[in-house]
Amino acid sequence: MDQGKHILFRHRDIANLRDLDVYLAHGGFEAFKKAVTTLTPQQVIDEVKNAGLRGRGGAGFPTGLKWSFLTKDSFPRYVVINSDESEPGTFKDREILTHNPFQFLEGAMITAYASQANTIYNYVRGEYWDVVAGLERCVAQLYERGFLGEKLFGTEFKLDFFHHRGAGAYICGEESALLESIEGKLGQPRLKPPFPADKGLYAKPTVVNNTETVTNVPFIIQHGAAAYRQNGTEKSPGTKLFCLSGHIQKPGNVELPLGTTLRELIYTHGGGIRGGKGFKAVMLSGASSVVLKVDDALLDTPLDYESVAAKGAMLGSASVIVLDETVDLSWVILKTTRFFKHESCGKCTPCREGTFWMLSILERINQGGAAKADVDLLQNVASQIQNKCLCPLGEFSVTPVLASLKTFRGDFDARTTDGAPKAAPKSAPKKAAVEAGD
């Protein structure tokens, strides 16, 4: 990637890009016009497939392929943009939506054209209240200028764009919970199948894509798949937004080609560890990360989907939380577990009960009231949740716990006393019986 030349963060290169005239002056909406007036939906899908664009919402699923899964001959269809961005350590979509809104809107609009959908809903977390207010002004301008509405560019294609605010629920980032939420229900995940491409919003074929994902699309359509592939690796082409937080010198977002090494990310772009401290561990995908112990091999790992997977972790949304040598992992895990317990939707048993139980053990450990056996119990409970949940949230909650227990067990043990575990298995039921006699 040319230094200073961004694909997603073009606002960093061009002043006032959030101004529609500026955006238009820099080629804005040419890709959308090109798609609608010169390409068939299938051609747009093929171009995106060729570009190898993968979903930036976390799973890295090939975007063009996803679009091609829409149930044939079933209309209306919907495009839903996932701007829920609630994974701790993630704040990239916010920057796009705030500073480069038109490129995002254009990408979403091309996505709608490719999917033959006439309505887009952008689901934005409620906390981004003012961001939505700004986006709504942008959308109004697009209607005024004829980029949204009926008969676009004189064709039969029509398109509407609406925002739907979330209201403080991480689970609504999960696509089926998100759809429930737009339908005015509790944000609890649906069973899959059916998948959104078959029965999504209002049980109609629906594409759900992350904000960053679709913001890539105008470039791909305008410059072609080959140009897009100049960045990144064979299997993970393009650039990616990395969110740097925690004990980093320069927190914030950076756009880098996929495959950039962790070392370059942290030391070149992030300015290194804050206060020059040692780099103990890193979480690459927010609170749901595998906590990785940092060593040279890890620092030299290219950050792309495959290489990170090979390390037993996930690149996810590339929310890089830096933990320096002062950090006690038992405290980190208390925080992540508190988050997942708070955000568990309550639908399935292992997640609802398991996160609650893990949290109570972790609180005890952190308060110094636990024995080593409690750490074993924590590990046990975490494994007990694993692979049994209805949706990935429950699985996410376990990932950092098991990873830290494997690599940093010492941090936990150090907090324990040698005494017997507080749990008094035999007396518990007795007590219950007595208390219940109310």
Partner: protein, 168 residues
């Protein structure tokens, strides 16, 4: 009644969704009701139910599920401080403790004596690079207040921001 004063807003909200999917309007209408009434009482829930044709129990479920809807009255503004992992790594816990003390509050969820602010701790609000940070939820929406990229916001500054909000 919302319909008296906000008829056009309500129509605009309902028009975002297909005619037979009025339930989708429950969330935006709850935000509207909350901005008007301060919190979502049984009456507000019934009202949103009537506007959308959704049973009050179903509307209430939405209120209960999402953390930005409130079924109880609190101060005029809710100050929501992020103490989640990334912010906490940058000192949010200690910062928040000091903040509470400065407002003469003993614990979370208490309201300042003048009834202006209720201070709550929240999970990640997507501003991790600008910790410490908080947001203020009031009748005008939800607004961020966060540190500059290169310098952490002091508790003094934060209290100053709140002072500035008073009377607005």
């Amino acid at each position: 009644m919302l319909t008296d004063k906000f008829a056009s807003e309500i129509t605009e909200i309902l028009n975002r969704y297909p005619a037979e999917r009025r339930r989708s309007a429950v969330m935006p209408l709850l935000y509207l009701a909350q901005s008007v009434y301060g919190h979502l009482s049984k009456e507000a829930i019934d009202e949103v139910g009537a506007l959308t044709g959704v049973a009050p129990t179903d509307v209430a479920g939405v209120v209960g599920f999402y953390s930005l809807y409130h079924d109880h009255a609190a101060g005029k503004r809710r100050v929501q401080i992020c103490t989640d992992l990334p912010c906490a790594l940058r000192g949010a816990d200690a910062w928040a403790a000091e903040f509470l003390t400065r407002l003469n509050l003993k614990k979370w969820d208490e309201t300042t004596a003048d009834g202006e602010f209720t201070v709550e701790h929240v999970m990640c609000i997507g501003a991790c690079d600008k910790a410490p940070c908080f947001q203020v939820q009031d009748s005008t929406g939800i607004h961020f207040h966060e540190s500059a990229p290169d310098r952490a916001m002091t508790v003094d500054e934060a209290v100053g921001i709140l002072e500035g909000l008073k009377g607005k």
